[in-house]
Subunit: 344 residues, 2 copies
């Protein structure tokens, strides 16, 4: 399904004068990482593979690369994110080999229900087809808005599971292209606008209002479960792009001002089993919003996001998704190199 | 069972002028870590708890402390290890509240079978009673040798699961005081001398020759399973005290010289599920020796230590335990502060 441009990577490493490189990979590109390592060593560049499971550009192994004496890091599977990197890091997003246009064609009447002026967003996997999608929709008479988003994303129109800045434009509704519900639910909650998710693999189109409602009900149930909690563990992540220390401290302060016991916890891979044995009634995750929202069934204690704590304490009425917002997109970081991989 | 000297820790932090501290804890001291955090904050020092599970002094969270803006790290449960620390780190070992002398008294006739000139070793948990044990044994007519060990340990007579330097002295046999078989088996294999393990909790004494034989048989079975392997993943750890890069590269080189495919992998918490999906027939762990030896049943591929690879390749005949040796014990590191905790 995915391709990695090995020649382009080699060229970039040679331009950088790299002698030893660390390769970091998500679960789905392990074999590709191994082939890449073999290819680089055949071409005179020593390669080490990181065996740590990686979930996003928010967790680059740049420190590990430096520790291992590597001159650079290759981060496979995710697009460039602006972070303070310790070695030159080549982000190699994986582009999906699926044409998005047929799924749009099939669902034109549903898309029409969004209005004539629509925001168009997608994930990194389909971003290389955004222009084609836009042209196709414009030909059908839509006014298509593709926003730059903020500094956390790489491309106009790109959303992350924690960032929907590119969707917040002045359209009547939002069209999301991609698989899975997490991203388009976030879009619907962040924009409060009609959101249609078109899946280019299955060709299905799903309205997000019901899915968003379902998620909000589950989250209200979590908030209700935490109502009697007196002792809160407020967890932030030591992953470079998830370390939200100021926000975590704000949550600790809020809880304490409301008479609760709160303690700041820092951890790398946030998971409940590692926390078993601490004396807390509930947890707040101030890191990746997927952890409390997607993983809560594996937690034996209620686990909330920061906006959910505000609801719990009576400081907020309407449900809000936990977003990690970047700054204005201006210059990119000198250490971060965005490779655009192979077009299918 | 264990006590932590909170007053001594506070005093040390004040002397260092610490305003914010990170507390790192092993599984068994989580509640104590939480109480310590509460106590420190009552006394004006902001405290953050590390939620990452910690298994040893070889994995201090000093980098995380710096990342979180902490001036110091409190490392609970393990004794000082010489490493390149990024913030002042207070090691607070946990001393067991059990008298070791009755178990020695009960097993005097077995101890006598070691000979009259014996090496005495123990783990950090019982090290505060080593002098009492020695005096008791000397009164019984033994010549007791307590060696300094190397720079990886804190105290004379101390052994780690990966370091038995203190046991390698010119005695007729070795007396180990402590619970569990991992340490005394390592002592028996590292010294090739009669080794008796006296458990101060149960009062039992167990000779290690049979246990060591049993372990060697299991390890030979692993080596046999790896005989047909062509593709090896050679794993080192990015934990500060387990990063054995030179040794890992030596193993990669050895394997390649013998016609095998070998690839260097680096990871933090070494575990098989994270490796599933890579294309290797067998693994070599060049990190903590407990991982391949204690955890091999959870691996779906054969997993070896470096000396076991040498056996596999026909370069070694006799089984050898994988030790991590330190240098000579000279000056300790300025950043490492060894607190000796509370005597029971």
């Amino acid at each position: 399904m995915h391709e990695v441009s090995t020649r382009e990577i080699l060229k970039t490493l040679r331009e950088l004068g790299v002698e030893r490189v660390l390769i970091q990979t998500p679960e789905g590109l392990k074999r590709e990482a191994q082939s890449l390592a073999d290819f680089l060593e055949e071409n005179g560049i020593e390669a080490i593979i990181s065996g740590d499971i990686n979930y996003g550009a928010c967790d680059p192994a740049d420190r590990e690369a430096r520790l291992l004496g590597c001159d650079a890091l290759i981060h496979l599977g995710h697009s460039y994110m602006r972070l303070h990197l310790e070695v030159p890091t080549i982000f190699v997003p994986a582009f999906a080999n699926v044409d998005v246009v047929p799924s749009l064609e099939k669902n034109l009447s549903e898309i029409g229900k969004l209005g004539r002026r629509i925001a168009l967003v997608t994930t990194a996997q389909h971003i290389h087809q955004l222009d084609r999608a836009r042209e196709f929709l414009e030909k059908q008479g839509f006014e298509v808005l593709v926003d730059h988003g903020d500094s956390r994303v790489s491309w106009p129109g790109q959303v992350l599971g924690c960032n929907f800045a590119a969707a917040k434009v002045d359209g009547e509704g939002v069209l999301f292209i991609g698989a899975g519900y997490f991203h388009p639910i976030g879009v619907a909650l962040a924009t409060r606008k009609p959101t249609l998710a078109v899946n280019p693999y299955s060709g299905d189109a799903v309205w997000m209002d019901k899915e968003a409602e379902r998620l909000i009900r589950r989250r209200w149930a979590q908030i209700a479960k935490a109502m009697d909690a007196e002792r809160f563990g407020v967890i932030t992540s030591t992953k470079k792009g998830q370390l939200r220390l100021a926000e975590a401290k704000r949550v600790v302060k809020l809880l304490r001002e409301h008479g609760k016991y709160a303690r700041l916890i820092a951890m790398n891979h946030i998971n409940y089993p590692a926390l078993e044995g601490f004396d807390f009634d509930a947890y707040v995750v101030v890191a990746c919003p997927r952890v409390p929202i997607d993983d809560y069934e594996n937690w034996r204690k209620p686990v909330l996001t920061p906006p959910e704590v505000e609801i719990l304490l009576g400081l907020r009425e309407e449900y809000a998704f936990d977003e990690i917002l970047g700054g204005r997109r201006e210059t990119d970081e000198p250490m971060g190199i965005a490779l655009h991989g192979v077009r299918d």
